[in-house]
């Protein structure tokens, strides 16, 4: 436990009034290790520790509080601040429909998330419509159709259509024609370094003008989260992040990395394979989880 580890480091601080630079450096070495073990990016962890160091030096150590606990609580609060304050929901379009487009690496949980969003926003009174924009993965369209059928939510696809932009454009027209006010577009998983695929998702954005672009990331992603998120953000300026598979035991340091490098909020988390396994993001819970 990080608190206990830091306690032994700070044993000699008892009775001293302020935290010195050396005290802080020693304590933060353990915090940095905890962050790295949680998959926070190396550079992000370095910057974070440096900022905490600058602010914590000279802080009053309450006589009744243990210094180790104090530093951990300080770090904890810093993490919560960085991970984003109050909950922000998916933006609603000034004129319906609200259009949500999901994007991300292969296997990150996008198609499943589309189903979860559809169910969630229907419960909130919306009339969702799903567009099957993944024309590459074997049975991807079928996967979304099965989900749509389970939820009794319409899924738009065009059999044999080789252009994802066309599917999205026609799907959006159909959604409007039928009076749906919440459109969710599933896209194929792609590498941020795949030029053709990144150009495709840029074209979909340009054509469709989504209200919200959600970057979907697997909670277990490691150091590369920074490069991936930055590239998707540079190309698409996505609005928010969804972190999936949070029902596992991955500490999810990527949350901090992605937030640090893009400035965009994490709004939702996936907590299971079923369609009801969606929760609003809780920065306090995430901070505790990252600190281990």
């Amino acid at each position: 436990d990080l608190s206990n580890k830091l306690e032994s480091v700070f044993k000699q601080l008892r009775g001293q009034g302020k935290l010195t630079e050396k005290n802080i450096k020693d304590g933060l070495r353990d915090v940095r290790r905890a962050l790295l073990e949680s998959d926070v990016n190396y550079k992000v962890a370095k910057d974070f520790i440096k900022r905490v160091e600058e602010r914590a030096v000279g802080e009053e150590v309450l006589r009744s509080l243990k210094p180790g606990e104090y530093v951990v609580r300080y770090v904890h609060e810093e993490l919560i601040n960085l991970l984003g304050g109050k909950f922000q929901d998916i933006q609603v379009a000034p004129q319906p429909p609200t259009i949500v487009m999901v994007c991300g690496l292969q296997g990150s949980g996008k198609t499943t998330l589309c189903g979860k969003f559809a169910r969630y926003f229907r419960k909130k009174g919306k009339h969702p419509f799903l567009i099957a924009g993944d024309i590459y993965r074997p049975a991807a369209i079928h996967q979304l159709q099965v989900i749509g059928k389970q939820l009794d939510i319409p899924v738009f696809s065009i059999e044999g259509e080789k252009d994802a932009v066309t599917i999205c454009r026609k799907g959006l027209a159909e959604a409007k024609r039928l009076g749906h006010d919440f459109v969710i577009i599933d896209t194929a998983g792609r590498l941020q370094i795949d030029e053709a695929m990144m150009a495709e998702v840029e074209r979909i954005k340009h054509e469709i003008q989504p209200t919200e672009i959600v970057f979907v990331a697997d909670a277990m992603i490691g150091q590369e989260a920074v490069n991936v998120a930055k590239a998707f953000h540079d190309r698409l300026a996505f609005d928010s992040v969804a972190l999936t598979k949070m029902d596992g035991d991955a500490r999810g340091g990527a949350a901090l990395s992605i937030r640090a490098v893009t400035g965009k909020p994490i709004k939702y988390i996936g907590v299971g394979e079923k369609m009801d396994a969606l929760e609003p993001f809780n920065p306090e819970g995430m901070a505790s989880r990252i600190l281990g």
Binding site: D39, N41, Q106, G107, P138, G222, G248
Partner: protein, 278 residues
């Protein structure tokens, strides 16, 4: 790490950053650097330009031989079970392995053991078609152990060479799902005592330190004989396999380098290490 004029703390810190940034993890990185510093001391090395070579050699030695030894002449049918957490590339990897074996003239049967996820069976059917393999399937919600049993049974009846068992993605923290995996293995053993001859754990190269927990728990439940490291065509280096080899001695056998049927390669420790430092 190439611009240094002396072997100093700065050089070690750069090595630390390189390894941690490649997802090798703090613990394994410290172990590697300790061993490197020992080597430098014992061999009295002063030239910093030699350090990179030493580091590469150390890591390659740790990763071991690693090539995919599939001795199909000795065993028939050879049963391979593929496991791992959600979305890592199990189904796609099975399609690729099947195609490769088919090209070598083998008779391959795929078991559609993911009876849970939407369109999982359909996805595997498309791969069976692409690979020229036969598929044994049931209905969604069917017992995956029964599908696996039927596939091995069919392989024996049809004198097939290889059975590849696809399983549903599952988080290693879900006790009931891990128990299900144990059951699939047990039931296969009932039909063929030596089977499964190979249990491959598929890991996504973008995964961070959680991969170590995945390897530990899957190994506890079903004895992993090898790893498949997928999505190496991306920018992730997959350094987690170094930590896993160091702690659990499980070798990487295959790597996935794309989404097409031919995008699978035998693991080569030297190529892997070169890519790490590229």
């Amino acid at each position: 790490i190439r611009g240094h004029t002396t072997i100093d703390d700065d050089l070690m810190e750069e090595i630390e950053e390189l390894l941690i940034s490649a997802d090798v993890g703090v613990h394994a990185t410290m172990t590697i650097i300790d061993r490197l510093q020992n080597r430098i001391k014992i061999d009295k090395i002063k030239d910093p330009s030699l350090v990179e070579g030493l580091l590469k050699a150390e890591i390659a030695a740790l990763m071991g031989e690693g090539s995919y030894e599939l001795d199909l002449s000795a065993v028939k049918p050879y049963v391979i079970m593929v496991v791992g957490v959600n979305g890592v590339g199990k189904t796609t990897t099975i399609g690729k392995i099947a195609a490769r074996l088919k090209q070598e003239g083998k008779h391959v049967i795929l078991a559609a053991g993911d009876t849970f996820r939407a369109a999982a069976i359909d996805q595997l059917e498309i791969w069976a078609d692409r690979a020229g393999a036969q598929i044994v399937r049931s209905q969604p919600e069917a017992d995956p152990a029964a599908v696996a049993f039927d596939a091995v049974d069919a392989a024996l009846a049809r004198n097939a060479d290889v059975v590849l068992i696809d399983t549903a993605g599952r988080l290693h923290t879900k006790v009931n799902l891990m128990k299900e995996l144990e059951k699939i293995k047990r039931v296969v053993q009932k039909r063929l005592p030596a089977a499964p001859h190979e249990i491959l754990l598929v890991l996504d190269a973008t995964t961070g330190q959680n991969a170590i927990q995945q390897a530990k728990l899957f190994n506890q439940v079903v004895d992993i004989s090898g790893l498949v490291l997928t999505k190496l065509d991306g920018t992730a280096k997959g350094g987690i396999v170094i930590a896993i080899k160091d702690e659990l001695n499980i070798p990487v056998k295959l790597i996935g380098v794309g989404e097409q049927v031919e995008d699978i390669q035998d693991f080569d420790p030297h190529d892997f290490v070169e890519a790490l430092f590229a």
